[in-house]
């Protein structure tokens, strides 16, 4: 045996983390729901009405994301043209942008020109989630032989019939997967709803926040969170069944095709549309950060860095610079915590005989919405006998829990691709088990941990849902300050919020780009 003994126990740390910061909060929440008075809350029409509104909104958002994302997936993952990698990276950018930033960007771009909150919320959700469609469906599309459609056409099918009868059924499971993910994100949306929505676009997530922070109705909030968890669970289960319904088979990726004839125009059009769709809101955001009613200005940036102050008004928003420092601190703590916990989890997934079950357990936080997590954490650790609010640890703990599944998803395949025989070779050359293991896996693990930690940092910087429950009123993070500023009237608030959002965009995209590069190198 060449495996070091401690490998068998590596699962203990992530297991303890998940029990403490996921299961204990969930049990605290359930304890609130399962009480004799619960029935009264379950017959209350309010959460059900909100669930209906959220379902209509999420279905429409999903349909729009598919309509925009499908042509992009086709062009960006199947055709070869100059700048394809850049265009694909660009199409992914909206997904890594914090939701408050996207909300602000859409307000800057469209203002109140659309009137209805419903339309702007749908557009913002489609914008945020089109990358899911491009990546999930594109990954499958690139494994479908384009010649199948050619074969269909030689048998009498038109282009459209060939697509409908041959390609679309093959894409079916991936479309179901992408649609389920977009539905869940839109159904549990918070930042976009609070900043852009109106009475027609409420979500249970927003209702939970209102019930806990304004109405102080914890039982009602627990019931709303439970209804949401049931809907999310049902949708994810449906998607998993769709995936399993189709027989697998060896998948291979086909070579990218060079577009010819009319396809060249279609590719050019889709790429141009991708550029415009992705960049228009971001450009509006940058413009809003340097523009005022009297023309170009640097005031908002000066306020941001403490050189000037704006009227604090009646709403306490806190210092922007302090919020940036706080967000960065939380992000670093989250990154370290998620890298260590996620790294140990990934090692356990590989090395432990119950690895597969463990992989499933580490994915659990993905199915739990930020509000449910935030509320559960608040109930478990936000009041006596265990009150951790003053320690400032609640936010990074919750962020790390959200980031751990991502870290495991990034780390496991890379570690799996490392040749295990390297460990044996090192052992045959006289290395002790730990040394031999580190010789084989160490270099990959180190690179993956740095990348995954960076990803967790990016998640923490932009996270809004859990932070809105767990951050203290006098210690907001950057996304919370942006939301507070947007809640106040006046162009100064808007300008400073836009400047902060630009900083957040730069920080998150830089981190994600660095992670992407590091990951590819590893």
């Amino acid at each position: 045996m060449t495996a070091p003994g401690w490998l068998r126990w590596a699962w203990l740390a992530p297991a303890a983390f998940i029990v403490a910061f996921l299961l204990v909060p969930l049990i605290s929440l359930l304890a609130r729901v399962v009480t004799p008075g619960t029935l009264n809350y379950l017959v209350d029409p309010l959460p059900w009405r909100v669930a209906g509104l959220a379902t209509a909104q999420a279905l429409t958002s999903t349909a729009l994301a598919l309509i925009i994302g499908l042509p992009m997936a086709n062009v960006l993952t199947r055709y070869r043209f100059p700048g394809r990698r850049w265009a694909l990276a660009l199409a992914t950018v909206p997904f890594v942008l914090p939701t408050v930033v996207v909300a602000l960007a859409f307000r800057a771009l469209l203002g109140s020109s659309l009137g209805s909150g419903f339309v702007i919320v749908i557009l913002a959700h489609a914008y945020l989630n089109m990358a899911v469609v491009v990546r999930v469906i594109g990954a499958r599309w690139s494994t479908i032989d384009a010649r199948l459609e050619v074969a269909a056409r030689t048998l009498g099918a038109t282009r459209w019939t060939a697509f409908r009868t041959v390609t679309l059924p093959a894409l079916g499971p991936s479309i179901a997967s992408a649609a389920a993910i977009v539905f869940v994100f839109s159904f549990t949306s918070l930042g976009i709803i609070l900043l852009l929505g109106d009475s027609s676009t409420r979500t249970l997530e927003a209702l939970v926040l209102r019930q806990t922070s304004i109405l102080l109705d914890f039982n009602g909030a627990a019931v709303s969170a439970a209804i949401q968890a049931v809907v999310v669970g049902a949708v994810l289960l449906w998607a998993a069944r769709q995936r399993n319904a189709v027989a697998g088979g060896a998948l291979r990726t086909f070579r990218l095709r060079r577009p010819t004839g009319s396809a060249r125009w279609a590719v050019a059009f889709i790429v141009a549309a991708t550029l415009v769709i992705v960049l228009a809101p971001v450009t509006s955001l940058v413009w809003a950060s340097i523009n005022s009613s009297t023309g170009l200005t640097s005031t908002w940036w000066a306020v941001l860095f403490g050189a000037e102050t704006i009227d604090a008004g009646s709403t306490r928003i806190g210092s922007p610079l302090a919020a940036m420092g706080r967000s960065l601190t939380y992000a670093v703590v989250t990154g370290l915590l998620a890298a260590v916990v996620g790294g140990l989890a990934a090692i356990s997934v590989l090395a432990h005989r119950l690895g597969r079950a463990f992989a499933l357990a580490t994915a659990l936080p993905l199915g739990i919405s930020a509000a449910t997590l935030g509320l559960g954490t608040l109930l478990a650790y936000g009041r006596p006998p265990v009150d951790l609010r003053a320690t400032g640890l609640l936010v990074p703990m919750a962020h790390a829990l959200i980031a751990v599944p991502l870290v495991v998803a990034v780390a496991t395949p890379t570690l799996r691709s490392t040749d295990p025989r390297l460990v044996t070779v090192a052992a045959t050359l006289g290395a002790r088990p730990s040394r031999a293991w580190w010789t084989g896996y160490g270099p990959t693990l180190r690179a993956v941990m740095i990348a995954a930690g960076g990803l967790a940092c990016a998640v923490s910087l932009g996270e809004f849902g859990a932070a809105s429950f767990l951050a203290r009123a006098d210690g907001p993070t950057v996304p919370l300050v942006i939301a507070r500023l947007l809640g106040r009237p006046g162009e100064a608030s808007f300008g400073v919020a836009a400047a902060m959002a630009v900083v957040l965009v730069i920080m998150t995209t830089t981190l994600v780009a660095a992670v992407d590069r590091g990951g590819r190198r590893a």
Binding site: A151, T154, L155, G156, V166, G172
Partner: protein
């Protein structure tokens, strides 16, 4: 019905630039034109130009005396059998073969009956219900041949259909193809890089010829 023919007049093939001198030939019903040449010489491009998958750079393609040069692929009735079977992965064997008849407006039941008939032609009558990943390489290629013939094509194009198969299977399928081309009484163009296979295909039936590229 008139005897079916394929005629190419001064046909220029290529993507952006010309790949070969213009082609002029006629293939009669029930006979095979075997096209032979090394990899990359444009054999497959010739087939995809006849089928309308690749646009013509010049000249004409006539099927049964009618100029189809400007017609889209699905209106030409040129069925292709490719190097790989390219069976539709989400359909059963029977539905793969019934695909062409369904496109020509046949009811589902009639199309399936026709599929069963064609599967019988290629000795796979009892495999109709199977999923395509349960087929061997040779079976899959025969299903592909049945699928092409079920669409009632005016011309059959075969793009190195045996190159991935072993020698005994290749010999068996060569006989199968020659048999069905004569039985369906349509012109066929068979592309290969193997001169011996070209010889067998061209002269195994009646009125065949070889085109070297």
């Amino acid at each position: 019905m008139n005897a079916r023919t394929l005629e190419c007049r001064d046909l220029v093939i290529g993507y952006q630039s010309r790949l070969h001198a213009p082609f002029t030939f006629t293939v009669a019903a029930g006979s095979v034109l075997a096209v032979v040449g090394p990899s990359g010489c444009g054999k497959s491009t010739l087939l995809s130009t006849i089928a309308g998958i690749t646009p013509t750079l010049g000249g004409h393609v006539l099927i049964d005396g009618i100029d189809v040069t400007r017609r889209p692929t699905h209106e030409r009735k040129v069925a292709m059998v490719f190097q790989e079977p390219l069976l539709f992965p989400t359909m059963t064997v029977r539905d793969n073969v019934a695909y062409g008849p369904r496109r020509s407006g046949m009811s589902k039941a009639d199309a399936r009956a026709k599929a069963d008939e064609l599967l019988d032609w290629v000795d796979l009558a009892d495999l109709g219900h199977r999923s395509i990943d349960q087929l061997s390489g040779g079976q899959a290629q025969r299903v592909s041949l049945a699928r092409a013939l079920a669409s009632d094509p005016a011309v059959l194009c075969l793009d190195e259909p045996f190159s991935a198969l072993d020698a005994p299977l290749r010999a068996r399928l060569t006989d199968d193809v020659l048999g069905v081309v004569q039985r369906a009484d349509i012109p066929a163009v068979h592309v290969t890089h193997d001169p011996q296979e070209a010889e067998t295909m061209a002269h195994g039936g009646t009125g065949g010829s070889i085109l070297s590229m």
